[in-house]
């Protein structure tokens, strides 16, 4: 399959394979990190305001919490109404260096039964099932789907 996929949102992630990473921005004045990226202004109320530079986020983190989606989410999430609904897990991941939590879908095949709070996970490239746009997934480290 060689057709080009488009990212579900532009400039939130980049790279392939082991180089895949989430992209945020960092304020040059106060070092605050933002994801989703802030390109207009730093949101730290005590910051005089600095240039916002693109930075990759840590590729690994620990599960802060997780859940799943037993019912079809409404639009604008894209689903195929012809197909039976396949639940997927959502994982909120604590990134230690950035001191922030980032939510994402779990990699295909990962269910809540595979997860525990505190477990190490890594970011991997993924595909939104019905739209075929690229996105990011969280996957427990060491697991190969």
């Amino acid at each position: 399959m060689s057709r080009t996929r488009t990212p579900v949102v532009a400039r939130w992630f980049a790279g392939e394979g082991d180089e895949f990473k989430l992209l945020g921005t960092r304020c040059t004045a106060c070092t605050s990190v933002f994801f989703p990226r802030e390109d207009a202004h730093c949101r730290n109320p005590g910051c005089p305001g600095g240039e916002l530079l693109e930075v990759p986020l840590s590729r690994r983190g620990r599960v802060w919490s997780y859940t799943d989606t037993r019912y079809r989410p409404p639009s604008p999430y894209v689903t195929d109404p012809e197909l039976p609904w396949e639940p997927y897990a959502l994982i909120a991941v604590e990134l230690e260096p950035e001191r922030m939590v980032v939510l994402g879908q779990a990699a295909p095949g990962i269910t809540v039964a595979d997860l525990a709070v505190g477990m190490e996970v890594e970011v991997v490239s993924g595909v939104l099932p019905a739209s075929a746009e690229t996105t990011w997934n969280w996957r427990p480290t060491g697991v190969r789907a």
Binding site: T31, S32, E98
Partner: protein
Amino acid sequence: MRQDVAVLGAGMHPWGKWGRGFVEYGVAAAHAALADAGLDWRDIGSIVGADTVRGGYPGYVAGATFARALGWQGARVASVYAACASGAQAVNTARAQILSGLSDVVLVVGADAAPKGFFRPAGGDRPEDPDWLRFRVLGATNPTYFGLYARRRMAVHGDTPEDFAQVKVKNSAVGALNPNARYRSRVTADEVAASAVVADPLRLLDICATSDGGAALVLSSMEFARRHGAPRPVRIRAVSTVTPRYPSTVLDLPDIATDSAVAVEPAAETFRTSIASAAYEEAGLGPGDLSLAEVYDLSTALELQWYEDLGLCGQGEGAKLLREGETALGGRIPVNVSGGLASFGEAVPAQAIAQVCELTWQLRGDAGERQVAGAQVGITANQGLFGHGSAVIAVR
């Protein structure tokens, strides 16, 4: 300096799925509140509407929409939107007008005709809107967020799904006594456990429904209340409408990520805790003074979180407080004796107003079978999407 405003009247349209427009519910609630206050609509100097986003322009200009339906009479008008905190901001707008002397007596109205199933963002491609993005990119519904908080409580505090179910059991038992509630039957723990999982670990009966409904209040200056022959009305002593403090480090609706804490150390209290503490500070009261609390139980697990954030118990002790029966009717600090969202469901712009209606009836001693004996002080708490705090303290 503390200044109270009087609650002269409270009224609701019963919650349910009635299939009518939000204006009808709001007008019915307004008539009920006016009758309760013993006032004619033409006596009202100002009307504040809590906005109904699903109503299109009439909903966005709720104050004027209700005023037109009640009959134009020249009142001052305002419309406010703050997601689930819209009702509290409407109350606060009315209070500010009264305390500043702009109006003596104000009608506050909120009503909704909610769609069935998951709430979803307004239509169109809106990639600048974090609420649109979380659906578009993650398919993250409100229940998935509730599931994240519930699972986190299980991991950190040792709460169990059985604890969560007991919140539903407790709230449905009092909701069964409330004629304005949508669900009027008692629910057992077995029924919760037998309901379908919606967002692990939460089941259908752990999560509040979406509903139609309306609520209204007539608020006035203390001087107006005395002139009107209500020398000792229920009084609103505090309204908290605070925003979070940067960095906000608890993942919350509708955000895909928290703020980073690399540059600034987070405040000692979380956003939800700060909502309550701002209300306590303004009222000059504390959790030990409370007779009851009405909190936003969007999920059963979230009610336990509010116990802790309101200071009814220590962090992590919410389930223990529940298990000991302290938050049930007859306990030390009954919570959601109205039946809560568990019994009402969400009618977004109405709910924070409905919470104050319940405090009013409880503090007057008019709550019938669900009366908290000797109620003197009550607090409401909720939280509006996009960083809107909401808590009201009322006293007798």
